[in-house]
């Protein structure tokens, strides 16, 4: 009982648990747990045969956190920054530490700009972005979209309605703006 010093009783005894659960108590002794203690010196260095790794060539100026002393010896080379989003990213890394909200908010803003830069760029290619195939939304019909949601007491069913707005909304808005722009230009030309 909580309001006295006794621990509340458990529904099953140790013997019952051992009989019901395969492996119950196999790691009862903390010495058998691989992450105890938290800091454990690794004598074999997990296969590494260097004190400090050889440096990977820097093929373009690689953005880095100003909390680092230098560019780390190894780094990812996916998607170098470019365009307006790249400028925003470079500025964010150059100006703000990881401790500043501005750093992360600028990077998030750059992500949105990056998406639109790439959507627009894709229209000049043989494979323009297609929100129907790229969202996989057609699987709603082949993978029980209705029966997976309704009558299931799911806490997320309400805000699922927001997802199409988030995905399609900017496309509809951009389409509308493009249509208005073209119409206004044609009108001006006719005058």
């Amino acid at each position: 009982m909580t309001y006295t010093s006794d621990k509340p009783p458990l529904p099953e005894t140790t013997e019952q648990l051992r009989a019901r659960i395969p492996g119950w108590g196999a790691d009862l002794d903390p010495k058998d747990r691989p992450s105890v203690p938290k800091l454990r010196w690794q004598e074999d260095r997990t296969g590494a045969h260097w004190d400090f790794p050889e440096r990977q060539p820097e093929r373009w100026p690689r953005e880095r956190s100003i909390e680092h002393a230098f560019l780390t010896p190894v780094f990812g080379t996916s998607c170098p920054p470019r365009g307006v989003s790249g400028a925003l990213r470079r500025f964010s890394y150059r100006r703000f530490s990881e401790g500043r909200a501005a750093h992360w908010l600028l990077l998030l803003a750059a992500d949105r700009v990056d998406a639109w830069e790439n959507h627009l760029r894709s229209f000049a290619t043989a494979r323009p972005d297609n929100p129907i195939t790229e969202t996989g939304v057609l699987s709603e019909f082949s993978r029980h979209g209705f029966s997976s949601r309704f009558g299931k007491k799911r806490a997320d069913a309400g805000h699922h309605l927001l997802d199409p707005v988030i995905v399609a909304g900017p496309w509809v808005l951009a389409g509308g703006l493009a249509y208005s722009g073209v119409r206004a230009a044609l009108r001006r030309r006719r005058r």
Binding site: I21, D32, T77, E134, S139, A155
Partner: protein, 382 residues
Amino acid sequence: MRAMVYRGPYKVRVEEKDMPPIEHPNDAIVRVTLGAICGSDLHLYHGMMPDTRVGMTFGHEFIGVVEEVGSGVANLSRGDRVMVPFNIFCGTCWFCARSLYSNCHNVNPNATAVGGIYGYSHTCGGYDGGQSEFVRVPFADVGPTIIPEWMDDEDAVLLTDALPTGYFGAQLGDIVEGDVVVVFGAGPVGLFAAKSAWLMGAGRVVVIDHLEYRLEKARTFAHAETYNFTEYDDIVVHMKKITDHLGADVAIDAVGAEADGNLTQHITAAKLKLQGGSPVALNWAIDSVRKGGTVSVMGAYGPMFSAVKFGDALNKGLTLRMNQCPVKRQWPRLFEHIRNGYLKPSEIITHRIPLEHIAEGYHIFSAKLDGCIKPLVVPNAG
């Protein structure tokens, strides 16, 4: 080669990409034979993780065959069948030397607060991931391990993140014999955390979720007692009631940034991106655990601030423990548990998605359609 690429929030597709080159003498190129979509990939997919660039290939859970090795690689050869931990790590920095591989300081120039992770944004180092035919594996002498002959591919791929993370989450709970452990979230990590809690001697394991099919899996796979939080006015009060008003000894957050259960938290975090994550499950964990108890956080959160109830954590004298799992550290013991039949990770797999259908795979997993718990990604599925 064929690879999944991110095209903006909620949009992915498969494209032809250049083969990854050897960038460093200790790199290897691995031909991916099996990958997976992780729940944390959905945070990228939904545009929540800062510096997620269009064109990046996601995927930090994969196994494969070594295709090519750099001039400095000594421990692997072409043709080796390898499992690759989701952490990229050097083996010799201050953190790696002390077994904190997930906190390696030599692999992520973009941030000091997180190590390197395959296919997990530039915030985690800007490495392409394994939802593709080929992937660059840095520090090939350190991270990958040859898959034992006796191990199934589907068990091996779940050893690259989901199982070690759940097992690690239970360890961070510092469980002692007879502890009451509550796990928030019945996804892959939550199921493995619940199962692991028994190995550490828990006396009672409770799993909370809102998806009935996942709770059913928690009962059958993890032998857990389950509650659907949508059936209770206040799940924290219910947790107190079922523990004689003491609270659980240990609570594990296995949900992370997109937790449901509080619409304001969910919308501000997952939809408006104004928080690093929706800390609903974390706050429930803080409030459900007893005073002096331990909260272990395995759910992934972004680097921005989140509205976490630190006052309650302080006043209750809680121990909060968390980290990205240092995967390779868990492997020897997990291999033993699998061999002994205590764990069979592949039992949670529900879908095997051909790489070419990756957009459908993401949507099914994200919208929780079709009873999806764990989708694998199969390159060259024919």
